[in-house]
Each structure stands twice: as structure tokens, then as C-alpha cells.
Amino acid sequence: MKANKIILQCEGLTKIYTSGLVRAKSVVGAKNVSFDIKRGEIISLVGESGSGKSTVAKMILRLIKPTSGDILFDGKNILSYDERDYYRQVQAIFQDPYSAFNPFYKVDRVLDKAFGLLNDHHSSEERKDITRSTLKSIGLNPDEVLGRHPHQLSGGQMQRILIARALVIGAELLIADEPTSMIDASTRAGILNLLLSLRKDKGLSVLFITHDIGQAQYISDRVIVMEKGIVVEQGLIDEVFINPQNPYTKTLLASVPRLYEKWEYD
């Protein structure tokens, strides 16, 4: 495992949504988006709503097909992988952890079902052991969460369980689409720190999609700024966020509320 190997590469990714048959309307979701993610790297995709962040994520997750452009995972086009094979390596967590669980089942089921994606057969004893040790490794007490229903857990706990699920599968790339926006500020830091430690210990790569500049700055190595489907600026976090070049990035950064400073209006 080389440290700086490119794990995912997007080249000229374009998605145009069309609607209607006769007088078709089209909306550009993403246009000519190119970037790569290296192993063990956390990359943030920032932009306002409607900037195409989630469109890019969905294309990487094979949930929608790009209009043009290629996505390569480990050097091969993602569409050439068998679906199960692909999802064993690429997993996602989303904004609303509550909707990822079936409210009628205990949360154990989500973790248990994850084993179905693996090739090796595990006995139920083995599954339990792996589940418990994974939960422990991300700072959850298995006795507190296993055997419960989703409504008995907090958003932070559920988001962690979903991260545990990705770990049980052994994913190498995690697509995190606004994973903390529905979680309280007081527990949000825990999720961010967890992602950082997984990167360090397991070499997990993360595509962190967010509109929160503060979180992007805290967590990532590189940042991609999108506006209306186009990548307007990308680079190392310290370069882009300290010395932004693009006018849009400048406005975006200027509108972020800061804790120790008050805005001045002109």
C-alpha cells in the first residue's frame, strides 16, 4: 500500500439533468469536474446548495450516471466493477442518519446486513465479535447501542453506527455527504475527530462534502470549491482558505460567521 497512490480520479465529469419530452429543459448539475483523491487523504467539497456537490457524490456512488466524463477507482472505470465489488470499497454516509435506519428493526440489523456484502462467510458468533470490536474502536459502547431501536439513540450515535458499518465492510473510500449538519455542535466534533483518526490509523480516504467552511478547514488536506456545477478553485486547504484567488471563494469565505469577530457591513 503506497501512501500517495491515487484511489479515485474524476475526469471531465459532467451531468446534465433533463426533464420533459417535447420541450425538454436541461439543468447543469456538474460541468467538467476533475479531481483526484489519494489514499489516506481527506478532501472537502464545499459550495452552497445547488452547487453540484451532491451530484458529484451521487455519480461517484453510481447512483446516477454521468452525462460524460469518467470516474476511475484504482485505475479502472467504476462502471467496470461488479456492483458488490465496488460497494465493498466505496461506502457513504449521508446527512440524515435517522433515515438510514428502518425504525421497526433494531440497529444491529444494519450492521448484520453489512456482512452480506462480504465474500467470506462469517458465523453469527464471528459477526457479533467483529461488530462489537468495531463499535468499540470508534468510541461507542456496544452494550449501549446494540439491541436498541433507532429512536432510542441520538443522531451522533447513529452516524457513528453508520461509520462502523462502512468499517465492517472494509471500505477504502468514504463519501461523507454533509454528515454532521444534523448533529449538534457539541457532538459534531466527535464525528470529525473520528474521521481524522480513521484516516490516520486505517488509511481511509474521505470525500467530505459540506457547506460549513469551518469544518472543511478543520478536517481536510485539500479543498474543492464548487459554484453552479463548476469547480472554481481547488488546492491545499491552507492555500485556498488563507489566500483565495477566485472571487467566488473570496465572497464565500467573507460570509462565514466567526466566533471571535463581528461582521462589518458596507
Binding site: E48, S186, I213, Q217, I242, S255, P257, R258
Partner: protein
């Protein structure tokens, strides 16, 4: 004696249902004077919105007013006649803009027809279209909107615009007090900034006198509030001038809340790891004994489990902290 614009004394409001009794707001005292913007901060489930619903005078079905006093401009809203409350207090003295209120616009009516309905309901007379435009003109202008939005349907407007339209309608009768719940949480950073500026403009134009601004986002509270009250578990744990709360938090909960904020810094990434508050917010059906923060508090002692901290007054110019060790 000075009459405060809003005076809340030992307010209690509980949710009662098949799930038991939830002590949503459990002993809150605060005052708000004319010209002030008071921020109410805290995690979700700490009772911020419950407090606002109680103050609004029309709590939702399961929420019950259980005691205490709420005086709005000298009128005790739970003892006066409901009709007086509707005609004299609501909209004229106080307006409440709940969370996600932008979804409250009627999707099949143009904004101007919606405003017409509101005016008709309050005045008993149906206004002409010109009157609607005249009435809303200044309010919308201060909110950074032009009058053409009145001709639009809600789906034609962006989230930020809908939010501002709702605020414009809520302030039509120039209420002295505006209670606003999480107006920025569903908005992008650029619209957030615009939103906060609009609220300040409304105050500058004397359309509203003061504001009770509720948000979990302490960085946005920071941008407009003069004073801040931090709520935890249905009670106020710390209050004081906004700057003091940020720069020198006294209560361990406030300290935790502020150190867990991930804030953008143009000078570069912040040094050191972020800290989060351990544990989860407690179940309000069964609040912890003594100081309600003790199970999560890093500095808790044996005494904290039994000693109940005092109820704060949350008055102007006072700095208070409900921690037994402080």
C-alpha cells in the same frame, strides 16, 4: 418602576402525553428591555424552542403552561382574555416566527393574496391590492426584497427569500418584540449573512424594537446579539453580555459549547484537536438530580449530584452563572 418589554418569571412548561411528562422548560426567569437583542443558545432538545412557544402565547397541543409569569409589555399573556391576546398582544406587541416558518406560506396562493388574508383576518376589512403593496413596501425593502416578490408563488422564491417574506409579514404591525427561532439554520452562508443584516436593518428602521433570537449556532448569535442566555436541560445556565460569554465562559457547559465550535479562521487552521462534550443530552422526562449538567461535566464533584444550582435572573447588564463551583 421600569416596565420591561418581556418579563418571564419562573416559567414552567411541560409536555404531557402517553410518553409521560417532559420537563421542557423548568424554571426560567429572564427579562428583555426595549432595544435589546437577546440570544438564546443551547443544544437541540434543551428547551429553547419550547420557551419561545410558551412566550408566543399559543403552545402546541401537548405542551402545557404549568406556572410562572410571562409579561409582554406589562400584559400577563396567560391571564388575559384570549381575544385580547390575539388582537392586542400578537403582531402588535410581539410576533413569533417559528422554525422552518418559510414552509408556512400557502403554496397555491401568490404572496400578495396570502398577505391579503392575513390583513383581513386581523382588521376585518379586505384590503385592496394597492394597500397590500403600500403596507408591505417598507418592510420588504428593509429585508432586501423588492415588491415584485408579492406577485410570486412561494415555489418561485429561494429559501432565504421565503424566510424574509415571512418575517416581513410577521412584522407588518411593527411589533415591539420579535421572537425568531433558528432563522438561519436552513440557509447557506451567504444568505445567512444577508438574513442577519436584514434583521439588524429592521431594528434600525424601528420596525421592531427588540428581538429574542434563538439559535444553536453560537457563531451566528455572535453576529447580532447584545446579550446571550445559554440553556441546558430546560434551564438557563449562564447569561451575560455576548462578548463576555464568548471570550470568558464561566459555566462548564458554555465552555464545552464554545470549544466545540468549528470556526473558520482566515489565518489558518486552528491548533489542537476540537473537543466535544462527552455523553448525550439527558432525557428531559427524567432530568438528572442536583445540577443537571453533572453527568457530563468534567469538573463535577460529589456535591454537584445533590446541590441544585440557583435560578438565574437573566437581567440586562448582569453576568450570572448557575454553577455551584463558580
Amino acid at each position: 418602576m421600569v416596565v420591561h418589554l418581556l418579563e418571564i418569571e419562573d416559567l414552567k412548561g411541560y409536555y404531557r402525553g402517553t410518553f409521560g411528562v417532559v420537563f421542557g422548560v423548568d424554571g426560567v426567569t429572564l427579562t428583555l428591555d426595549s432595544g435589546e437583542i437577546l440570544g438564546l443558545a443551547g443544544e437541540s432538545g434543551c428547551g429553547k424552542s419550547t420557551l419561545a412557544e410558551l412566550v408566543s402565547g399559543s403552545p402546541p397541543p401537548l405542551l402545557h403552561y404549568e406556572g410562572g409569569k410571562i409579561l409582554v409589555d406589562g400584559l400577563d399573556i396567560y391571564s388575559i382574555d384570549k381575544e385580547v391576546l390575539r388582537t392586542e398582544v400578537k403582531c402588535k406587541r410581539m410576533s413569533y416566527v417559528p422554525q422552518a416558518s418559510m414552509e408556512s406560506l400557502n403554496p397555491v396562493k401568490r404572496i400578495r393574496d396570502f398577505v391579503m388574508d392575513v390583513v383581513k383576518e386581523r382588521t376585518g376589512k379586505e384590503p385592496s391590492r394597492e394597500e397590500v403593496f403600500r403596507m408591505t413596501g417598507e418592510h420588504l425593502e428593509k429585508l432586501g426584497l423588492e415588491s415584485w416578490v408579492l406577485n410570486c408563488y412561494p415555489h418561485e422564491l429561494s429559501g432565504g427569500m421565503k424566510q424574509r417574506v415571512v418575517i416581513g409579514i410577521s412584522t407588518l404591525w411593527n411589533p415591539k418584540l420579535l421572537i425568531i427561532d433558528e432563522p438561519t439554520s436552513a440557509l447557506d452562508v451567504t444568505s445567512q449573512k444577508l438574513m442577519i443584516k436584514s434583521l439588524l436593518d429592521l431594528k434600525q428602521a424601528r420596525i421592531i424594537e427588540s428581538m429574542l433570537y434563538i439559535s444553536h449556532d453560537i457563531t451566528s448569535l455572535r453576529q447580532l446579539c447584545d446579550r446571550c442566555a445559554v440553556m441546558y436541560c430546560g434551564q438557563i445556565v449562564e447569561t451575560g453580555p455576548m462578548d463576555d460569554i464568548i471570550n470568558d465562559p464561566h459555566h462548564p457547559y458554555t465552555r464545552g459549547l464554545i470549544s466545540s465550535v468549528v470556526s473558520y479562521d482566515p489565518q489558518g487552521r486552528q491548533k489542537g484537536a476540537l473537543k466535544s462534550i462527552p455523553g448525550e443530552p439527558p432525557d428531559l422526562r427524567n432530568p438528572p438530580s442536583g445540577c443537571r449538567f453533572h453527568p457530563r461535566c468534567p469538573d463535577a464533584t460529589e456535591a454537584c449530584k445533590t446541590t441544585v444550582p440557583p435560578i438565574l435572573n437573566a437581567e440586562k447588564g448582569k453576568r450570572e452563572c448557575a454553577c455551584c463551583q463558580y
